[in-house]
């Protein structure tokens, strides 16, 4: 039996029902969430690049002072180091908290889901202090402002964000014949070029070869990171034109960033890119193996519009295949935790004031036990989509354990018989409705609902 439109929209294209959140009655309303200001981000802002850099350099400075003083370091100095360290850690957890809080409290679930989708499409698993401090900037400066615009802008912002550049070794890539390359005997690093084609644009089945990767790597040389962020240094860029996918970029003249931009423009409009993005989006929202005509319709809409992302989303939301019965997907731990706390109607104040220890205890640590550690995606290809990757023995035990805890902590006022209705509406099966009422106490009744296949699937 197919669930009602409101239920499908809330669960498949959002983070589930929350008391007081408006129901979506048609595809236009879902899409309308993407118009207007990013209210959810504004409600939980995070520091900008300069502030992040400041926190990091201040920390480095304190550590340097302490090292210099050695055993002579006095109490005040040690305290400075501790404070700087705390500020650094606090910033990273604040980013994580913002991710949760926006998704839990917002009425624009589709927008929130897309933010996480694109953050995973442009996966960065930051290693080291500066990359971890920087990581949250990728979401707020590169992804969220562009997720309803043209893919070209999103691609430029995300694939060339310092976070990504560091993660994929781009600053270490030298044009072998560039002045810096010749002087230092350093050469190409293909990492970013490869992932740009394989993951960010055309996809692993796209029509490119090793030579294109190599040529693109040469074209991308000169892109580096400095304290100010991403910069283009001609002295590190390989001279001469590079031919990628049969088209030459640049000339024998001085290498220019606009050559790289031109390639980004072309690749954003490539049919393989359209197909890869369409399929990936359909896999994420609709089914692990989505119907071919849905993917084709989305691909076509994207190409016809000139890489407009809202056209891609609209094609998905207006296709009948997107509105079949629920159950084709399993919520990843982040989505499970967020939708669980929404269902329990945890108050705005509670969410906003969770702090570092609350964020870790109630959300990020249990999520790690479910198999998804924040900031630690297994590789540049992001988290797995398949249900089997998540519903493992420890995964399921961790979900149940968390469900028992949050039901006890936040659900004391709730009646499982009502909870099964408010949290799932017509997505709840008969057995689950009976089980929720037959539990021997409230806590287990609520936890059963949260642990059910209905609640964990979408």
């Amino acid at each position: 039996m197919v669930q009602s439109f409101e239920t499908l929209a809330a669960i498949r294209f959002g983070y589930g029902f929350k008391k007081g959140a408006p129901d979506m009655r048609d595809a236009g309303q879902v899409l309308a969430q993407l118009r207007g200001a990013d209210v959810a981000m504004a409600a939980f802002p995070t520091p900008d690049y300069t502030e992040r850099r400041g926190v990091y350099t201040h920390y480095r400075e304190q550590v340097r002072r302490a090292k210099k003083a050695g055993k002579k370091a006095d109490r005040a100095l040690r305290l400075d180091v501790q404070r700087a360290k705390r500020a650094r850690k606090h910033l990273v957890v604040r980013d994580i908290h913002a991710r949760f809080a926006r998704a839990i409290l917002s009425d624009t679930g589709f927008r929130e889901r897309l933010a996480i989708f694109w953050s995973d499409h442009f996966t960065v698993a930051p290693k080291g202090q500066w990359p971890q401090i920087l990581y949250g900037d990728m979401m707020d400066a590169a992804i969220r402002p562009h997720l309803a615009g043209n893919f070209l802008d999103l691609l430029l912002a995300a694939a060339l964000h310092p976070s990504m550049l560091i993660y994929l070794d781009q600053p270490k890539s030298y044009g072998p014949n560039s002045p810096r390359g010749l002087r230092s005997d350093k050469g190409l690093n293909e990492n970013l070029a490869r992932e740009l084609l394989e993951l960010h644009t055309m996809g692993v089945d796209g029509g490119y070869g090793q030579n294109d990767v190599r040529q693109l790597a040469e074209l991308l040389t000169g892109i580096v990171t400095t304290d100010q962020g991403m910069e283009f240094h001609e002295k590190q860029a390989e001279p001469g034109p590079e031919t990628v996918l049969g088209k030459p970029y640049g000339s024998d003249a001085e290498p220019r960033f606009s050559d790289i931009r031109e390639f980004f423009y072309d690749i954003s409009r490539h049919p393989d890119t359209a197909r890869n993005l369409a399929r990936k989006l359909a896999v994420h929202f609709v089914a692990d193996d989505p119907p071919e005509d849905l993917v084709r319709a989305m691909q076509q809409a994207y190409l016809d519009s000139g890489a407009e992302l809202t056209a891609l989303y609209e094609a998905m939301l207006e296709h009948p295949a997107s509105w079949g019965a629920l159950g084709g997907k399993v919520k990843q731990p982040f989505g499970f935790v967020v939708s669980g706390l929404r269902a329990l109607d945890v108050s705005r104040d509670t969410v906003a004031n969770m702090g570092i220890s609350g964020t870790r205890r109630m959300m990020s640590i249990p999520m790690a036990a479910m198999g998804q550690s924040m900031l630690r995606a297994p590789g540049p290809n992001g988290w797995p989509e398949e249900a089997e990757a998540w519903i493992t023995p420890q995964g399921i035990a961790a979900r149940l354990q968390w469900a028992l805890v949050v039901s006890a902590v936040y659900g004391a006022e709730l009646d499982p018989r009502e909870f099964v209705q408010t949290s799932l509406r017509d997505a709840a099966g008969k057995t689950l409705i009976l089980a929720a009422g037959a539990a021997e106490n409230r806590n287990e009744g609520l936890a059963l609902v949260l642990s059910s296949p209905e609640f964990n699937r979408r």
């Binding site: 050695g70 640590i365 021997e440």
Partner: protein, 407 residues
């Protein structure tokens, strides 16, 4: 909960569930097994200081390089090397020939000294860093070479998704922190709501069965859902995020290995000792010692068929730094234990620690590839072809001659 109480509960459950023909509590099907050897791989994360674990005390230079770290004398092993004092509990194992070391070894990783890249290389078994090396681990690829290797054969212990075991071959995993704290009634209801969903049903069944086998950490009635027990659960979840106790990991691994599991892997952290090493390394070594002693005790007679292999991403600088610690280095040590290994000796080609013999003027010179020793153990245990080990499991490795690590 006392023992008789648990026994009663499990009996009650067994009855309740057989009455309901429970698919949730049926014991797991265990796999056929092509070897009766047991292999445990322990990844020591953070860069274990081989020069402190296994000290070249016979060289007077050592004290000069490491005035504070080497101040406390260790236990002499063979007149030249001595064991860190915090590992004195392992002396009987050494004397029984069940504990050995390989010194001055490393992965092919050179010069960059990043934990993450170093661990990627160590676990992938590859000879270079790069995106392609993050897809699969050497232990998983090794399974592909064993005919009939099946899921229950290999266990990843702990909640992390270890690169060592990532790949195409099926591997089971469970964390000793995992629990299924439901009342009998709750479990029956859970079973009912999973029943129509094979994916949930199968995973839930395995979870309950595994949790049930874990004794004190297993199934537990929660009829007293008062504030205390909630608080305890919250703490348990929080604890699961911290470093898991070595003993719990080892006990769980041993329990699996006593039945049908043949290979288990987990990791121990805390080896990144940049500061006050005499203090910080003690804790990490204590965990390692506890893991090895627990494995021996819990495996019982099976210990005789067991090889435990402990590896780290790199060693540490020969000189201690300004804060009484050591920084990331290159050559390090490998620890071998178990009744199946020829212990009581130090393997490897010792390069010495005189200034000109150091790597880059700062690190212990690696004279051999740590993967070579792992490869010979795999060959000895599973009779794998050298070609497969040198190409598939450890690409680019030359196994050279057999160091004779196994009895």
């Amino acid at each position: 909960m006392d023992r008789s109480r648990r026994k009663f509960l499990s009996k009650t459950l067994a009855f309740a569930c057989s009455a309901a023909a429970s698919p949730l509590l049926t014991p797991m099907t265990l796999a056929s097994v092509p070897s009766d050897k047991r292999l445990v791989v322990i990844i020591l994360r953070g860069g274990m200081d081989g020069l402190d674990l296994l000290r070249p005390s016979g060289d007077p230079l050592l004290v000069g390089y490491r005035p504070t770290i080497s101040a406390r004398m260790g236990e002499d092993l063979n007149g030249y090397f001595s064991l860190h004092p915090s590992l004195s509990g392992l002396l009987p194992m050494w004397q029984a020939g069940e504990l050995g070391f390989v010194h001055a070894v490393s992965t092919p990783y050179r010069n960059k000294r990043s934990h993450f890249d170093g661990q990627d290389i160590l676990e992938s078994g590859s000879d270079h860093t790069g995106a392609d090396t993050r897809d699969s681990g050497w232990l998983n690829r090794m399974l592909g070479l064993i005919p009939d290797a099946q899921k229950e054969l290999v266990f990843s212990v702990g909640r992390e998704n270890m690169l060592l075991l990532r790949g195409d071959q099926p591997v089971s995993s469970w964390s000793p922190a995992g629990r299924m704290d439901m009342s009998p009634q709750g479990q029956l209801l859970l079973e009912a709501i999973y029943a129509k969903d094979p994916l949930f049903s199968e995973a839930g069944q395995a979870a309950i069965s595994l949790a049930g086998q874990l004794g004190g950490q297993g199934m537990m009635a929660t009829e007293d859902t008062g504030q205390d027990s909630m608080q305890m659960m919250v703490q348990n979840i929080a604890k699961a995020g911290r470093r898991q106790k070595a003993e719990a990991l080892a006990r769980f691994a041993a329990g699996r290995l006593r039945s049908d599991t043949r290979i288990a892997a987990f990791s121990l952290g805390g080896w990144d000792t940049h500061l006050k090493q005499h203090n910080t390394l003690r804790k990490a070594l204590g965990q390692l010692q506890s893991a090895l002693l627990t494995l021996k005790a819990e495996l019982g007679p099976v210990w005789q068929k067991t090889a435990v292999v402990c590896m780290t991403e790199f060693g540490r600088t020969v000189r201690e730094n300004g804060s009484g610690g050591t920084d990331h280095g290159t050559g390090g040590a490998m620890v071998l234990a178990g009744g199946a290994v020829r212990g009581g000796r130090v393997y490897g080609d010792w390069p010495g620690i005189a200034e000109p013999d150091l790597f880059a003027g700062r690190d212990l010179l690696p004279t051999d590839d740590v993967r070579r020793y792992a490869a010979w153990i795999l060959r000895g245990f599973y009779g794998l072809e050298r070609a497969g080990l040198e190409r598939t499991v450890f690409p680019g490795l030359d196994m050279a001659r057999d160091p004779g690590l196994l009895l």
